[in-house]
Each structure stands twice: as structure tokens, then as C-alpha cells.
């Protein structure tokens, strides 16, 4: 009898929690690219993305009780990653500095040539980048973003709008 993917993953998670390395490796192989990519997009640094990836998988083992059986594992893991990344961001940058940090990104950028999208993303502050990525690629609502940053929905909408305008100008700047 073959297991449905969600059941199979649940078993992997349970077995990994019991110390089964093979089950843990199976989970890692399937989900680490998605988790790592998200961590990299949010943090902008490979060393930070490494840490976030590791922490995500270890947290998932601890937080197994919080996982609803039958639901897909990928989004749950990514939610853990995003929460960890935002927590770090907030620890490094207390809430009062978030706005200042965002304003700092409006300074004139003078690249020698048009930036590709990835490089343009890197030019955004971590907060702006996280809002862009989580809202557009991970489907977070402005309410969820506002809650996580202890801000308002209009703050989240405003950051998204300004960040996209900035991205556009960065990627359109030419020689």
C-alpha cells in the first residue's frame, strides 16, 4: 500500500522526531531548497540563510504538535522560516528603526548599469524585501505582515508600494 504524500511526510516527521536520520534526510532533501531560497530572499545573506534553514528544520521537529495532520508540510516549514527571519530582523532592528531603515532606502542609487532583478532585490532593505517577497510570493496578507511587524496594514501596503517602485527604478536604470 502506498501512502499519500502528506501521510508519508507526516511519518517522516514523526520518525525524524524519534531520531531517525534517514527520515530527517528525506525531509531535508525535499524541502531544503524552498526553505533555503526563502531564507536567502528574506535575509539577503547566505550565512544567515544557512542558519535559518537549520533552525527551521530543528524547530519543525520540536513543533510537531502544532502541525495539522493532512496539511502540506512545505508551507508550514516556510512559515517557520519566515517567522524566524522576521524575529531576527526585529531583534537586530528594533521597531523604531524599521521606518528609518526604510527611508534610508529611498536615497539615490547610481549604478553603472541596470540591475537584474535579484541584484535589485538585494538593494532593498531587509524589511522592504521581506514585505515584497512574503506578500507576492508566499501569499501573506497585509494583516499578517502588519501583525508580525507590530505595525498597521496601511504600513504594510505602503512599504510594498514603495519597495516595488524602488525595484522598478533600480531595474530600469541604465548606463
Amino acid at each position: 500500500m502506498t501512502l499519500a504524500p502528506a501521510d508519508e511526510e507526516m511519518q517522516w516527521l514523526r520518525r525524524a522526531r524519534e531520531g531517525d536520520k534517514a527520515a530527517f534526510a528525506a525531509l531535508y532533501l525535499r524541502y531544503s531548497p524552498g526553505v533555503y531560497t526563502l531564507a536567502l530572499r528574506l535575509s539577503g545573506q547566505r550565512s544567515e540563510a544557512d542558519d535559518l534553514t537549520q533552525e527551521t528544520f530543528l524547530r519543525a521537529l520540536q513543533a510537531l504538535a502544532g502541525f495539522r495532520a493532512g496539511s502540506p508540510l512545505g508551507p508550514w516549514l516556510k512559515r517557520i522560516t519566515a517567522n524566524l527571519a522576521i524575529d531576527r530582523l526585529r531583534r537586530i532592528r528594533p521597531s523604531d528603526d524599521i521606518e528609518l531603515d526604510a527611508l534610508a532606502d529611498t536615497h539615490e542609487h547610481s549604478p553603472a548599469r541596470a540591475l537584474d532583478l535579484l541584484a535589485a532585490l538585494q538593494q532593498l532593505s531587509p524589511v522592504w524585501r521581506s514585505v515584497v517577497w512574503l506578500a507576492l510570493m508566499e501569499g501573506w496578507s497585509h494583516r499578517e505582515l502588519a501583525d508580525r511587524y507590530s505595525r498597521t496594514e496601511s504600513w504594510s501596503k505602503s512599504i510594498l508600494s514603495r519597495a516595488l517602485a524602488r525595484l522598478k527604478s533600480l531595474s530600469e536604470e541604465t548606463l
Binding site: R14, A16, P33, Q54, L61, L117, V132, K157
Partner: protein, 138 residues
């Protein structure tokens, strides 16, 4: 504010960015952290069979005490022995064993429970217990 159409275009553009793969060192470091994390978890889990066995023993002590202290009429002594239905204890043990198996407990974790079960069986039905134990071990 950004229009829905514009947001959709951005989504499309961002989706074209390639997925990244973590470097091998991430997995190596994670394995070490995993080993450190699951060891204490397993140690905690391994303690529960002993706690259950202890609870069972404690539950039996008052019954044993009553049987040894109360000078009941001969006819009632049989009733006292039957007052602790071993079948009920067995069922409880079996339920625990089943749950723990489903939960992926190791044979080592379950050994104390099996020993309790065999002791209980031996006390009540020595011959049947031996047969049952043999069957189970097979």
C-alpha cells in the same frame, strides 16, 4: 498604491528567479544539531514506560494490602482475588503497547511494558501466559 495587474506582473517576474540549493555544509551542521536535539528527546521518552510500570505497581499495593490484612470469610477471599480483574490491567497495558507502537517506540522502550505484561499473565494463568508470551515473541 500598486494595482492588481502590476502586482501580478511582479509576481511573475519574481517567480522567474531560480530556486537556490543550500551548500553541503548546511546539511553537515544540521546533522550534528539534529543528533544533539533528538538525544535528549529520546531520553525523555524512554522514561515513560518506567513511570507507567511504577503506577501499575502502586495501584496493586492497596489491593495486596487489603488481601493480606482483611480476614475475610473463606468464601469472600475468592471475591477479593477477582476484585482486581487482571484482564482490565492487561487491556490497559495492551492499549498502551499499541499506542506506543503506533507512535514508533523502539523495542528497548517497550521492554519494561512487555515484562509487566508477562508477569501479570504468569500470575493469573501461568500456562496460558507462557503460551501467549511465546506466541508474541514469534
Amino acid at each position: 498604491m500598486t494595482s492588481e495587474n502590476e502586482l501580478a506582473q511582479w509576481r511573475h517576474r519574481l517567480a522567474t528567479l531560480a530556486e537556490e540549493t543550500p551548500p553541503p555544509s548546511t546539511w553537515l551542521d544540521l546533522q550534528l544539531a539534529f543528533a544533539n536535539q533528538v538525544r535528549p528527546m529520546n531520553a525523555r521518552r524512554a522514561r515513560w514506560p518506567w513511570a507507567l510500570a511504577a503506577a501499575l505497581m502502586l495501584a496493586l499495593v492497596p489491593v495486596w494490602w487489603m488481601q493480606s490484612r482483611v480476614a475475610a470469610p473463606a468464601g469472600l477471599q475468592a471475591i477479593h482475588v477477582d476484585a482486581v480483574p487482571p484482564a482490565q490491567l492487561l487491556r490497559a497495558l495492551d492499549r498502551e503497547l499499541q499506542l506506543r507502537y503506533q507512535d514508533g517506540a523502539s523495542d528497548e522502550d517497550l521492554a519494561p511494558l512487555w515484562r509487566e505484561r508477562e508477569k501479570l499473565l504468569r500470575r493469573t494463568q501461568p500456562a496460558a501466559a507462557m503460551r501467549a508470551a511465546e506466541t508474541i515473541r514469534i
